[in-house]
Symmetry: C2
Subunit: 362 residues, 2 copies
Amino acid sequence: MPAAWAQGTAAWEDQTKLPRSPEIHPDRTVTFRLFAPGAREVLLVGTQIDAATHGPKALTKDDKGVWSVTVGPLEPGSYVYGFSVDGGIKSPDPANPDMEPRRWGQTSYLEVPGDKPLAQQRRAVPHGTVHISAYDSKSLGMTRSVYVYTPPGYEQSTAKYPVLYLLHGAGQTEDAWISIGRANIIMDNLIADGKAAPMILVMPYCHLVRAWADEPKMSSAAADEAIEKDVVGDVRPLIEGDYRVLTDRDHRAVAGLSMGGGIAMSIGLHHPELFSSIGSFSGSVRYRPELEKVDGAALNAKYKLLWVGSGTEDPHFDTNKTIADLLDAKQARHVFRTSPGAHVWPVWQLNFSEFAARLFRN
Amino acid sequence: MPAAWAQGTAAWEDQTKLPRSPEIHPDRTVTFRLFAPGAREVLLVGTQIDAATHGPKALTKDDKGVWSVTVGPLEPGSYVYGFSVDGGIKSPDPANPDMEPRRWGQTSYLEVPGDKPLAQQRRAVPHGTVHISAYDSKSLGMTRSVYVYTPPGYEQSTAKYPVLYLLHGAGQTEDAWISIGRANIIMDNLIADGKAAPMILVMPYCHLVRAWADEPKMSSAAADEAIEKDVVGDVRPLIEGDYRVLTDRDHRAVAGLSMGGGIAMSIGLHHPELFSSIGSFSGSVRYRPELEKVDGAALNAKYKLLWVGSGTEDPHFDTNKTIADLLDAKQARHVFRTSPGAHVWPVWQLNFSEFAARLFRN
């Protein structure tokens, strides 16, 4: 090893060795590349990518140590992916600046454009702002951060806005709905198209600690409950103090994906005085016992919109369907939104778009 | 490969295989671990880590496929690091949620606590807010984003604040001063201790495009000039429209690290009508020819504070020293701040802290 490391320009930072990756071709095939001269096996992995390529796809190495594979054509849309090198846990693509900085197992992000702009693609419309607020959670005894989206014109206006609390899934962090879900861009586009009311999105962190290895030993239900306390008792006052928000129940909703969908249902069912609409996108169903206790007339009286969504290929599809069946049996008004796809972002983005479009319209 | 991938829970996402990493021991030694059963060589790499460990450090594999190494004791402070597997470009630690999502070659982030809190560590003081504003750059013809820090109390106040434009280095992105530099936390602490005036930090993106592979072919000087136009002509009006900022030159400063330090000097020297103080932390010196043209009396009349900083082990130390020598020869008032360290965040954080503490004090 030469003295390069001492100079802050170590050999492993030689960017001349950085191949272009991903490269999207006009026919929507995509080439992925990784410089790893000593590796024995490099796999392209990632839920949507795996579905498109029928499983992890092996890359092959050229004489310069660059591994590559071309897949597709891929359907227009967004994909998360990574590389698994020599049987390891997936790593992000070092050449791709767009990524999801997850709680563990960070992944890279790719948008394959189509003939018309994707819902999550930037268009020439007014842009909202994303804020990262820090707060001292009394219930959890630590400083945490929450992402907040304010709609276009917020800074110039004096109006107060309705609020949707939007929760991430297991393994993700408070930025997930922004960095990967692109909820801010989706909202900008919906508002520009007159398809959604301008609203504020509040995206709290839904794990108790940062690192998975530090997670306190407790049941998932107990962890959900601690997060509920933080969201209702610590995040909500922060938002209502620092942002111009409407504070009546008619102008407050809660939704989430996967683990966050279950927490959203719990929060909404426990606090009808605070929330008028609830959405669970491929959600966990730990709230089921409580839902069973409430009768349909009460649900209809309390909530404007109860939303259960799931991709039809989601391994949790049947479980989510039992919730929809339960609501049917109770004659409780609800939406059960099914769409093609597994436990993946495109399904959550579709559910978010349609759920948000129905909120705060009167 | 079993059907696990189709269920969105692929084998490479088996978190039971995720080892604890990094693990900081009471004696400030640190153990790093990576699950990579098929790898032949795993190195711990990263400029500050390399300096502390006298070069990339090899990990050894146990019988479960987990590689590990214990290093240190490390000095209290923050470190960036990654793993190089089988000779590849470094990857972040998949078990560590704290990272720098760089333009390429993302790295992980580690804080080794000492007996007293680090300048960049969260304390029980009022917290500012970080904002991500999107804007359509007319000069660059694309939508870009800029990070903005507002000090504690901004949301409740109607006051206008002074502004420091703070630029990142090559390879980094607009979040670098936040995600790794922790400039927001440093400012919170400085303000709480009465060591700095409350101010707004504006952190634009200083590369022309997102991916390194898409960079247009032009000289570094031409790229700097394009960024200068964007910062002065597009970012500045956005900030002055959307944030409560003071807009006279006495309340505007510009600084940056490495590439961004050079751009900051160019911007400041070109626009004395806009900026009253300039800081370059281990900066590139492409502005040198222009500096040579200005006489010392003019510099003294125009600028309250000219700051040149460099780590004494920085490979660019001598180059930065020639700038300080040039200012000496011109009898131009300036600070040349040298401190132990290479081309690394601790040096930039120290320079930022001391530079910010001297701004807007009267």
